[in-house]
Each structure stands twice: as C-alpha cells, then as structure tokens.
C-alpha cells in the first residue's frame, strides 16, 4: 500500500511508447519530429521545463545538420553542445529525467534506446532580488539566498573559497525530487555530525519538499519541542560563519532558507552584525537582546503574579498608579493580560498576512488606536499596555524568526502558570523550560552548550562578543577536528609573545 504511492509510474509501463502516451496526457508535453522526414527522429519534452531558446539555438540546428545522414544517437551526442547527456533504455531514468527538464531524443530505428539531453531552464520563475529582507542588517553584506539551489551553492562558494567545502547532494521527495545539499568542511567539521545528518536525511520520505524548514522539522532531534533545533537563515554570512565553526549546513532546492546545525540556544540570539561592529558595541547589543528575551518571557507573567498574589513587593510609588489604572477595569489581571497579548498576536499575524503597505498601516492603526481605545474603554490598564507592547517589541529583537516565535509562544504558559500559582508558577515554568532545554539536543550535541554541560573554556563568544584577538579558536563544544580558526596578530609576531 505504502509502496504503491511512492512507486514511479514507469514501473507500471510495459514499454517506452506506453510511457510517452502517458506523458502526452499533459498538454504541456511536446512530442514531435523536427525533420520533415517524419519517422526518422523524434524529440519530446515538457515545454514548461526546458529553455526554449537553448532548444532552438543549439538542438534544432543539429537535427537540421544531420538531416538525411541517418545519424545514430551517438553521432547526435557528438554534435550536441551539452555536457549533461545520457543514453539510456531504462524507463525509470527516462521518467525521472523528463520530469527534470531533459529532452528525449529517439530514433525510429531503435525505439527503446533514447538520448537524454539537459536543457532545463534554471532561471525562469526565480526572483532576481536576493536582499536579506527578513534578516536585515545595517552593516554587513545584504546578499541573501534565493530559491535556486545552484545559485545558493555559488553564493556560499564565493564567500568560502576553499576546496575543503564539500556539498553532498541527496534527493528527497517522491513527487518533487528536491535536491537537498549538505555542506561541511572536510577536515574541520566533525564527521559524526555529517554522518548523523546524512543518515537522518536519507531515512525519511516526503512527497514534496516545499521548503527547507520541512526537512529541518523532520530531522530535528525532538520534533515536539517548541524550540528550533536548527538555525535557519537566509544570510550567506551566517551560514558561512556556522560552517567555518564546524557546523554542517543543509540547503534545499526551492528554498531561500538554509539551516545549520548542531546549534546551541545561544546561536539564536547572535546577529552577524555583532561581528561587524566594535566588540564593545556588539556585546552591548547582544546583552540588550538577551535581556529583551528575559523581559519578553516574564514581564506580563510578573504583572499577573504581582497583581494577583504578591502586591506587597510592588514599590510604594507604583502602587497608586497601578491601582488607579486598573480602577475601572472589570476583569482579573489574567483576563486583562490574555486579552491584550492575544490582541497583539492578532495584530502581528494580520500584519504578516497583509501586503507590506497595508501591513504597516495596520500596525499603526492597531498599535495606537486599538491600544488607546482599549484603555479608554476600561478593558485594560495603560500600564499593562506598556508592558505588553514592550514585551512584544522585545520578542522581535531575537534575530532568528523561529526563535522569536518560540519566545512569544512560551509567554502564554508562563502567564497561565503565574495566574495559577503566582511567583511560584513562574518559577515552575522556568524550571520546566530549563529542564527541557537541558535535555534537548541538536544533531546529538547538547542544546545548552557551553553552559550545560558547563564548559567555561568556551564561554567566550556567548553572552558577550569578544574581540577577534580572543576568538581564534573554534567552539569546542561541537568538537571540530581542527581547533584553530586563524592566527591572531599577537601570536604571529614573536615580539608580542612576552
């Protein structure tokens, strides 16, 4: 039963003619003889997959040249200016290649043997712009990945001019036959991760790989975790950085997102911009980002806990404003917070679904008008409005979209726990999340490394971004084969040694 689904159609066909008949059911399938003498040569292909220009300029003239010479397929092969050609009689291969943008050339004298020529149109339908719109940075390169795998590999190769960079290709998807590529550095990346990744990539099947995030989810160590276990990005510099540090990167055709692993929690709060600014400034922004996450996770929950259970810890000066702001709000703090949090999430979701121009207008309308009106209508207090708006804002400081979604999602269980048990609830949720993170792995490497297991040796590039003088070693928690990234200045010059 399961095999029937993924079995190619060619398995059921008796001969090539039958297969061609089947192909002909599609209206974009072309099957014709380019030469007047009807029965000598025939070619067939999917019109929508091949590059018409190449076909007209390089393939058809060859047929005109051999006209009347009774050519063999081997002769055609010699004359056709293409490198990706194959003579085959295998129906499965023929089917796979035809659907992959090859043209099939057949001689009537030898009806079972065909010549497959690759004239696939690689560029059509792909966008030209490859700016990193979703992971924008002011400083640094703005070039990002596109939907074409070869372009993406090229982009990485431009940055990583090193023969040690190995791209291993695997085809996934019984209907899409998507090319998925694994990138690693031979002699630097630990082969354990390469093998694990390849093993996982080969051990599942999908029909269509819509995006690399499908692969990401399927091969992740714990699919039920809200935390992303691979860092997915559209930035070339980020992928290059991960790979030179001993991680593997996985690219999928048709997806502008490349994911890298094994990732640790800390990687998700690092922006490439940290490395483009002076280390003091970079570290400051990174700390701001981390504080933002803590605020985003716990601020609303703290409000609920304090207002519902522990008002005695609120400073005296704040008691008055807090109570008078809530004076006419008929709901409990929990309902108040949930109402506002969901409003903000709805606004975000609506903004994400709408076209950019309408989206930004909606943000203003939603943020200011609805917020103000909600306070005036006594649905929420204005202090809470500030807290919720700030915690939504801080969740967006996380550079990786998937992680910022996780942060926003985790807010809700923490708020509910705070409503049930107050400060104890926040603590319980914190411990549960921490426990989960401690157990979590990415490609078999601990997710909380280097904090758990505790390796103070590798704490350098975590919470702060140290100077390049100190980051010449790779992060040892993912066990790269070669430790040294580059030789810092002071070591190059023996005078500086002492």
């Amino acid at each position: 039963m399961t095999n029937q689904v993924i079995e190619p159609i060619s398995e059921k066909m008796k001969n090539l003619d039958e297969l061609i008949c089947f192909f002909k059911k599609s209206s974009d399938y072309h099957h014709f003889s380019p030469i007047h003498k009807e029965d000598e040569i025939e070619i067939s292909y999917y019109r929508t997959l091949v590059n018409q220009e190449t076909l007209n300029q390089y393939v058809i003239p060859v047929f005109q040249y051999v006209e009347g010479k009774h050519p063999q397929l081997e002769d055609l092969m010699r004359h056709l200016p293409f490198n990706d050609m194959e003579l085959t009689t295998d129906l499965a291969t023929i089917e796979k290649k035809i659907t992959g943008g090859f043209i099939m050339i057949r001689l009537l004298k030898n009806r079972s043997k065909v010549l497959m020529v690759n004239v696939r149109d690689n560029k059509s339908g792909y966008r030209q712009s490859n700016e990193t719109d979703n992971e924008f940075s002011v400083i640094g390169p703005k070039i990002g990945f596109v939907e074409n795998l070869d372009t993406n590999i090229g982009l990485i190769r431009h940055k990583l001019t090193d023969s040690r960079a190995v791209f291993k290709e695997i085809t996934i998807g019984n209907m899409s036959k998507t090319r998925v590529c694994l990138l690693y550095l031979e002699g630097i990346t630990n082969p354990e991760y390469v093998n694990t990744a390849i093993q996982r990539l080969e051990s599942f099947s999908l029909d269509v790989v819509f995006d690399s995030s499908l692969v990401d989810q399927i091969i992740s160590d714990n699919g039920n975790s809200p935390f992303p276990q691979f860092l997915s990005t559209e930035r070339v510099d980020r992928v290059t950085f991960a790979v030179i540090n001993g991680q593997v990167a996985i690219l999928a055709d048709g997806s502008p997102y490349v994911f890298t692993g094994p990732s640790s929690l800390n990687d998700f709060f690092i922006s490439p911009e940290d490395y483009y600014m002076p280390w003091v400034v970079g570290s400051f922004f990174r700390i701001i980002r981390l504080l933002g996450v803590v605020f985003s996770l716990f601020a609303s929950a703290m409000y609920v806990a304090l207002m519902t259970y522990h008002f005695e810890v609120i400073p005296d000066g704040l008691i008055g404003p807090l109570i008078s702001a809530r004076a006419f709000v008929p709901f409990t703090p929990l309902l108040e917070v949930i109402f506002l949090e969901i409003t903000i999430e709805v606004l975000r979701e609506a903004g994400a679904r709408l076209p950019t121009k309408i989206g930004s207008t909606l943000g203003v309308v939603g943020g200011i008008v609805i917020g103000q009106a909600a306070v005036e209508a006594a649905l929420t207090s204005n202090i809470l409005l500030i807290i919720v708006a700030l915690s939504a804002l801080t969740s967006f400081t996380t550079p990786i979209f998937k992680m910022s979604n996780t942060v926003r999602l985790l807010r809700f269980p923490i708020i509910l726990a705070a409503a049930c048990w107050g400060g104890l609830g926040i603590l319980i949720m914190f411990i549960l999340i921490l426990g989960h993170l401690m157990k979590l792995e990415s490609l078999g490497s601990p997710y909380l490394a280097p904090f758990y297991p505790t390796r103070p040796k590798y704490w350098a590039d975590t919470i702060i971004r140290p100077s390049y003088r100190w980051t010449w070693k790779r992060n040892g928690t993912i066990r790269p084969i070669q430790d040294v990234r580059y030789v810092p200045k002071s070591q190059e010059n023996p005078d500086h040694e002492k």
Partner: protein, 362 residues
C-alpha cells in the same frame, strides 16, 4: 513517548492541585493598610488603621478604620468587616503604639504583625505620646506615605537612630541589649513631630529620652552618625550655644575588664550659627569645649541608663563578646549598674560655616 506524556499529565495535575493552596488577593480588591495603631483602653484595646484608596486618583485618599478588641487579629477582622473590601496588612509601613499600651507591653500585638510572612521587617514602630486618633487625623490629611517618609527622612538626616521592627525584634530577642523606639507627638502646625526616644525593657516602655539625648544615643550606637547638636560653650563666664553639624563618624569600643569598657566616639562635622564674638579662629577652643561637653553629656546619659538598669546601647552584647561565661541575669543585676564606661570624644573639623567668618578680617 506515551509514557512521558502520561508522566507530564500527572505532573501537571499535581501542580493543578496546588492552585487551591494559594489565596488570591487581587491588588485592587483589598484595602492596603499602610499605618496601623494600637492603644490600650480601659476594657481592652483600640485599633486604628489607615488605608489609601487609589481608585479616584493616583495620589490616593486616606481613610481610617477603627475597632475595639482584645487581640490583634480580632481588631483587624473587625476593621475588615467595616470595610467594603477585605483589609490586608501586607504593605504595612508604620505601626504606632500608644504610650499606655507600650508601658504595659506590646509583645502580643507586635508578634501578630511580625510573624506574618507578608509583612516586611522594615515596618517602622513608633510610640505615640498623643492620643492615637489625633495622630491619625493629622496623617490622614496628608499623602499616604507621609508618615513613612517622615520617619525615613528623620532617621537618615536627623537626630534619630535607625529603628524599625527588625531592630526592635533583634534587641527584643537578644539578651545583651534592650530595644528602643522613637516617640512621636503632635507638633506645631498640626504635624507629627519627634519628641524623643523610648527605651524598653523586653517589650515594656521604661524610660524616655529627649530630642538632644537621642543624638547622643545615636552616637553611642555608632551606626549612621549624622545630626545636629546644640552645644553649650562657656566663654568669658557666659554660657553660649553653638550648633555642631555632625556629618559622619565612627565608634570604637575597647574592652578592659567585664566591668570596664571604653567607647571612643569620633565625629566629623562643622560648626554652624556661631554666637556673637565667636569666629572660626576660635575653632580650636570650640572643639575642646565640644569634646568636653559631649563627653560629659554621654557620660550622664550612660549613667542614667545604668541607674535604670536599661541597656539600649548594647554593653551586654559587647562584654559578652569577650567573656565566655557571660550570663544576662548576673550581668545586669550585679555588674552593669556599677560598670565603668570611659567615654572619649574626638571631633574632626570638616568644613567651615560662613556664619563664623571674622568680619574684622575683611
């Protein structure tokens, strides 16, 4: 997988059961009492509390609740019954004790407050010489934090030693020191003012010291030395008063024998409001006079404590540090009343006040 799901559900259920263990007190559904007062009446105790209602304005309107009863919790619950919302003492700031009640012993009420885990140990405890209701009507007219701010401010910048429930309890339970609490009274302009300090034996008020003595007492306690001291200076046979502004200082204690200790007080500050015909050039003489004066006054204060067998300065604790077989009863009965306390005061001039400039020199 199935197992871990079941385990997770069980864990969640256990946590859910815990929800019944917590009491919800939503901030705007309680009356947050900031000042609580107790005094003794002829048949029981009278309690007054003040809470601020912030519903109308952020500044808060003060309201009073009064109740009679024999136990603190009864009085509190009677207050609660008289209010539209339940009262909470979790954010209590000041506890006022009537003088009559203080003389009888405040322990049974202070215990109610101090064993409540929600009540901060920074609660100020004060004794009121004036009738309780007078004090409360005065503070009611001001903003909710008035009394607390007044106490904080005076202890930081004024002549009064730091004292709150934490200090009170520490001294109450310690054997080598007696507790002391500030005394408030109705001052001019219908304001609360400090009139002195009350010295306790266990939980009973035994002795009162006045405003100036409070400063001396603060010096002897040795922490946070700051204040203004009017010193009597003898010059040319006439007694004149000059103000010494104390900015900081320190205390050194020295142990000679179980009945002989030495306290060296070092104060840093400057003179203000020089009397007529006295100038900064006289500072050397003034310092000597002041040192002498302070030594005399401190000696007098300590003697009065010894006579009353009260030890708010903590001589007992100090001697105990140096004596292995120290016993509170024998120390206070036999040793303390005749204990020799040498007091030495050293004054350092820090600044010079403009009032002392020599007009002839200009």
């Amino acid at each position: 997988m199935k197992n871990s799901c079941r385990r997770g559900a069980l864990l969640l259920l256990c946590f859910l059961l815990l929800t019944s263990c917590v009491h919800k007190t939503i901030i705007d559904e309680v009356q947050i009492i900031s000042v609580l007062g107790f005094d003794k009446t002829d048949n029981g105790y009278h309690g007054i509390s003040m809470f601020a209602d912030y519903k109308k304005s952020e500044l808060g309107d003060n309201f009073l609740l009064e109740a009679d009863g024999k136990r603190a919790r009864i009085i509190l619950s009677k207050m609660s019954d008289a209010s539209s919302r339940p009262i909470s003492i979790a954010k209590l700031k000041v506890m006022i004790v009537g003088e009559r009640f203080a003389r009888e012993g405040i322990n049974q009420f202070s215990e109610t407050i101090c064993i409540d885990p929600k009540v901060s140990s920074n609660v100020y405890m004060v004794i009121s010489e004036a009738p309780m209701i007078d004090i409360f009507t005065m503070i009611q007219a001001r903003d909710p934090e008035h009394l607390e701010n007044l106490l904080t401010q005076t202890m930081e910048n004024g002549n009064f030693p730091t004292g709150n429930m934490h200090y009170y309890l520490k001294n109450y339970f310690s054997k080598g020191q007696d507790s002391s609490l500030p005394i408030i009274d109705v001052g001019p302009q219908q304001r609360v003012s400090f009139s002195g300090y009350g010295i306790f034996k266990r939980d009973q008020l035994k002795m009162k010291i006045n405003y100036v003595e409070s400063f001396l007492f603060k010096l002897m306690l040795g922490d946070h030395i700051y204040g203004v001291y009017p010193a009597d200076i003898m010059k040319g046979g006439a007694k004149k008063e000059i103000v010494f502004h104390c900015m900081s200082g320190g205390l050194k204690q020295k142990y000679y024998a179980k009945d002989h200790v030495r306290y060296v007080v070092r104060v840093k500050g400057f003179f203000q409001d020089y009397p007529e015909n006295m100038f900064t050039s006289d500072n050397q003489m003034l310092i000597q006079e002041l040192e002498h004066n302070l030594e005399q006054q401190l000696d007098k204060l300590v003697r009065s404590f010894q006579k009353a067998k009260l030890d708010p300065i903590g001589f007992g604790n100090f001697v105990r540090q140096h004596q292995r077989d120290w016993n509170a009863d024998t120390f206070y009965e036999q040793v303390y009343p005749n204990m020799k306390v040498d007091i030495e005061v050293k004054v350092d001039m820090q600044e010079t006040d403009q009032s002392g400039k020599n007009s002839e020199g200009i």
